[in-house]
Symmetry: C2
């Protein structure tokens, strides 16, 4: 089967890791030698894995979480307590207009208003970086305080667009507001780190982009935010309150760890992945399938406008026809029932497979 | 190997389930047919599993969470917003004096003060149920409001004591305060439900007691608390805010589901488990190992006072000697380095294995 599901291509676990995971299936499989903190367990050696991640991401601290959204919430809620409640910041987070719904939910749960920046016009839908500054000034005017955080989805999960992160982090620094990068589709695909991104906090998703069983994510922090987020309990001095003392106490932690050597290698080949993506976009364009999102495209996530498929679904009176036709050809991961747009990821495709998917599209269009 | 680790005996996954889990190792393995809510996915059929759980626990709603502590926090924080912030309840939760540290952390994270009831004397350390009422009156006096919640650990994870839950739930009803039962060592071992327990909320742990890979837990709610905890997002109307829209998006959800038929059967044999526990306690008592906690004992979790082992550790100048001696005999799960008390679970033992563990203790004591 050829998998093109944007949600699942980056989380496929290497076969050799799968076999080794069997011994960690039982509940609490990582806890036999725990001395009180998941991140300090040395058997299995989660401690040295966390240290590796810290260096790899150039972070002050890294923690395992239950996923990217749980990382957002841990950070947001810590900021609510340390800044908003203390009257140091407005109860507002500013995010890019293409942000993921889970970030909006995390903000809502943490009692923040989320303000989104403007998004540019069809067909690229690139966010307007300068709008962060306008939104900051609006918050300042309303509350007499600056927003607690700027958040940027990099790339966003809908179009696979990369914004100009340097512009945004410059605005953040100018106003001295911390900036969090949502790298759910970045970390584990692209070799980068907090310094290069100029990020104060960086969020990753194990099941989205780090070849890991889920749910699991990362929260990487600079020194200042570490103080807020990783505060120790007043009652149990060795436990971190915002992590409830322990997070991923089981198989997903081992999965992320065992896949990590493989992930470190695969990020070196990111340019090849972008080449395949662009190759695919060109070939699909020749069929009349129009890419939404930035051009040239810089990510394997892509969204096509496909009125042609929609027309066929009307003609065939079957909104699932595309899903079925592709599945018949061994291609899975297109959202069943949706034909006006097609969202996919070319991350797992080589050139031949890319050709095969395009020629399948072609056949389906010709069959009508 | 004979496993006696209190943390791990109830979370051991049946072999036939392990094999079937392999196909769900990849990240987002449960999401291919998601229409927006984990609990409504029909392929794999999580939806009907949730329905089964709901009936089994006699709950109004059941949700999958990342574990018992995450269930506590979701409930506590929802109550903070709906009751404390609204001036309807004091920012206080009253829990039994034997509560687990994770519940204290969840309360701390949710910005509650946690007040614990008194605990009775050595050697039983049973909690004083009546003290809930004294503590309620103290809160009322201080805040002019009632506490937001009563919590009871049933049984507690240290001694394996069951308190008189009828007394406590009567106090809760008398004052019209919701009551939450922490059933991390109950649900999946003992056949019971919310009606029998008189609980408004019931928390379970998949990796502790439901033969499941971790981390995963349950939050079962009555109708009233469902309204608070499962509120939909203002921005994304189909998503539940306190669950961040989705919780266990991966293998642990499948693990809990596939183990559930096995769990439903095994709870029918709970009386046999208690018999083995009592048999073990008697035999260990004959060696001079004194049980702490209630007698007769009603759970496989048990804690012994073992000054004899401590003396040997001094003599041998090796605080790990007991761990090593047991491991040599194929018995694992005793906390390495601790000898003054021995905490264990007889859940996975049959009578012969119980005899073997006791006779191993005997040999070690005789060797000195």
């Amino acid at each position: 089967m050829i998998l093109v599901d944007p949600l699942r291509t980056g989380g496929a676990v290497p076969d050799e890791v799968k076999k080794r995971l069997l011994e960690f299936v039982d509940g609490y499989s990582v806890c036999a030698y725990c001395q009180g903190d998941l991140h300090k367990i040395t058997k299995p050696n989660i401690k040295s894995f966390i240290e590796e991640l810290r260096e790899w991401l150039k972070a002050y601290e890294v923690r395992l979480t239950h996923g990217a959204r749980e990382s957002f919430f841990a950070l947001f809620f810590a900021l609510y307590k340390s800044r908003v409640k203390e009257g140091k910041a407005a109860p507002v987070i500013i995010a890019d207009g293409n942000t993921h719904y889970s970030l909006e939910l995390a903000a809502e749960r943490a009692m923040f208003d989320l303000i989104k920046t403007k998004v540019g016009a069809y067909p690229e839908y690139k966010i307007i970086e300068e709008d962060y500054e306008d939104k900051i000034l609006g918050v300042k005017k309303k509350y007499g305080l600056l927003p607690a955080l700027l958040a940027i989805t990099y790339p966003d999960g809908h179009y696979g667009n990369f914004s100009d992160i340097k512009k945004i982090s410059k605005i953040a620094k100018d106003y001295n507001i911390p900036i969090m990068v949502n790298g759910a589709y970045l970390i584990g695909r692209v070799k980068t780190d907090m310094e290069e991104l100029n990020a104060d906090a960086l969020v990753a998703s194990g099941h989205k982009s780090m070849a890991s069983s889920g749910p699991i994510g990362l929260l990487a922090l600079n020194e200042e935010l570490s103080k807020d987020v990783l505060k120790k309990s007043k009652l149990h001095g060795d436990k971190e309150v915002e992590l409830l003392g322990c997070t991923v106490r089981g198989l997903p932690a081992i999965s992320l760890m065992l896949s990590f050597p493989y992930v470190k290698k695969r990020v070196e080949k990111w340019e090849e992945k972008v080449e395949i993506a662009r190759y695919f976009i060109n070939k699909a364009g020749e069929l009349g399938l129009k890419l939404l999102g930035e051009r040239p495209h810089n990510h394997d996530l892509m969204l096509f406008e496909t009125p042609q498929f929609y027309e066929i679904s009307i003609k065939r009176k079957d909104r699932f026809f595309l899903y079925k036709e592709l599945k018949k050809r061994g291609i899975i991961g297109i959202k069943p029932g949706i034909t006006k747009v097609v969202k996919l990821s070319t991350y797992l495709l080589n050139r031949e497979e890319a050709d095969f998917v395009v020629s399948s599209f072609k056949e389906i269009l010709e069959e009508g």
